[in-house]
Amino acid sequence: MSIDIDTARKVAKLARIRVEEAALPKLAEQLSGILSFMEQLNEVDVSGVDPMVSVTPMKLPMRADVVTDGDIQAQILKNAPEAREGFFAVPKVVE
């Protein structure tokens, strides 16, 4: 399966990474190369095999649904590129 320029543009959009038009052909070529490497997996008979979901056979633990921390607004916002009045600030989202 090879990736054309339109598909590369779509994937970049889905990944929210801006790729200039001029860079799309090279990207498509590299993605195609990686995907054709993955095609080897089609040689394997996987019938009756479930996809692996857990590395070690263990049940994920449950914990009590209680508040264990909080009141750390300043800490949470400390690394924000832009914070205002106790909130993360972003460009206008709704027109």
Partner: protein, 492 residues
Amino acid sequence: MTANSLTIAAARDGLRKKEITSVDLTMACLTAMDAGDGLNAFVFKTPEIALEQARAADARLAAGDAPAMCGIPLGIKDLFCTKGVPSQAASNILAGFRPEYESTVTTQLFGAGAVMLGKLNMDEFAMGSSNESSCYGNAVNPWKVDDRALTPGGSSGGSASAVAADLCLAATGTDTGGSIRQPAAFTGITGIKPTYGRVSRWGVVAFASSLDQAGPMTKSVRDAAIMLQAMSGHDPKDSTSANIPVPDFEAALTGDIRGQVIGIPREYRMDGMPAEIDALWQKGIAMMRDAGAEIRDISLPHTKYALPAYYVIAPAEASSNLARYDGVKYGHRAKMAPGDGITEMYEKTRAEGFGPEVQRRIMVGTYVLSAGFYDAYYNRARRVRALIKQDFETVFAAGVDSILTPATPSAAFGLGEMANVSPVEMYLNDVFTVTVNLAGLPGIAVPVGLDATGLPLGLQLIGRPWDEAGLLNHAHVLERAAGFVSKPSKWW
């Protein structure tokens, strides 16, 4: 010999006997670190923190009953979040990020009295095998045989370089597809990736969550046992961390492997494998046989499919984990043009902040998880992963105690030499190590010899799940038999 070239074990014994202080040891490392700038191993130095921790360690040692890691100066891979200290995963997208919290691994190490000298170089987000994708520029291998500067490997390249050059006594590393074991082999040191779940991932910047594990990179197998002990254990903050007891790893180093079964997987004899690598492997087999182990030919039939499965699963998980870097909560935010909305902010921020290899992997992951391809790629890869794990379960059930393989397909290569190859060719570096991450097993790289040009080569031992103790003992026997004592000559 200066104090910075000590092993953890020797320093521990010296500290306890009051032959040396942690402040002396730390000063020796700080001096070596400053003299080692040409290696570009440390990307952020923390001498004030180091000296404060060293003084506290000396007080604790004076009071008696200090743990083994007390007073030991370490380098910390930039992937670990360290409170108040830059932690960027060697990426521009985390520019300026100083975590408000401490990773569990570093919390445990510092709780045991260890000293942090600074943060270590690595491939961006741990994606790479040569340390060339770092936003800080590549680290350099202290080993050198001609004019070329060589890669220390990756992704834990700064850790490997710093330990091999004696800038610190040991370092933390992380391993998603071989990122501890390959750089350890390239620099003539020891590196162990423990069983998935042995060491908490909390506070370690996530790459591929079902594959990532942290581990120590050290100057000896004994040091690996001592430091892994301090890093291991259950952590309620990591839901995949195993709530099982941690055995005494150092006590397991009996040096006795008589009657143990060591498997030699025929599928690891790759086409075109350099004769030197094969000869090293044969040498390792002979050493283990001479030590009284039973050598058994085994088959791991799905080995060939490990790399393609890995390069579906790891990017898929990465694309999801790295979605958090959006210019809102931390790190870099792109400058906006008039009229730009939030989507433009995301797209520009991520284009500016992520390097080319990281962008590529995010996009591969996005593609294999997208509607219409999820089953064909991602689910198929997870099915193949189940088969790879089953291969190992079958040989362990048949009585194999550990598996001996080469660690890397070659010795360290020159920096820049792989610049014009396809991404897939670079991925081939992980061919012997990646199966271990897919199956969640412990694996260790041990230096065994030098190639014809004088560069270190390592072998890998793979253990049963949760049997790091047995694995370390096997590695200890291999280390003793190999008697690898070569050090790089100082040029930096």
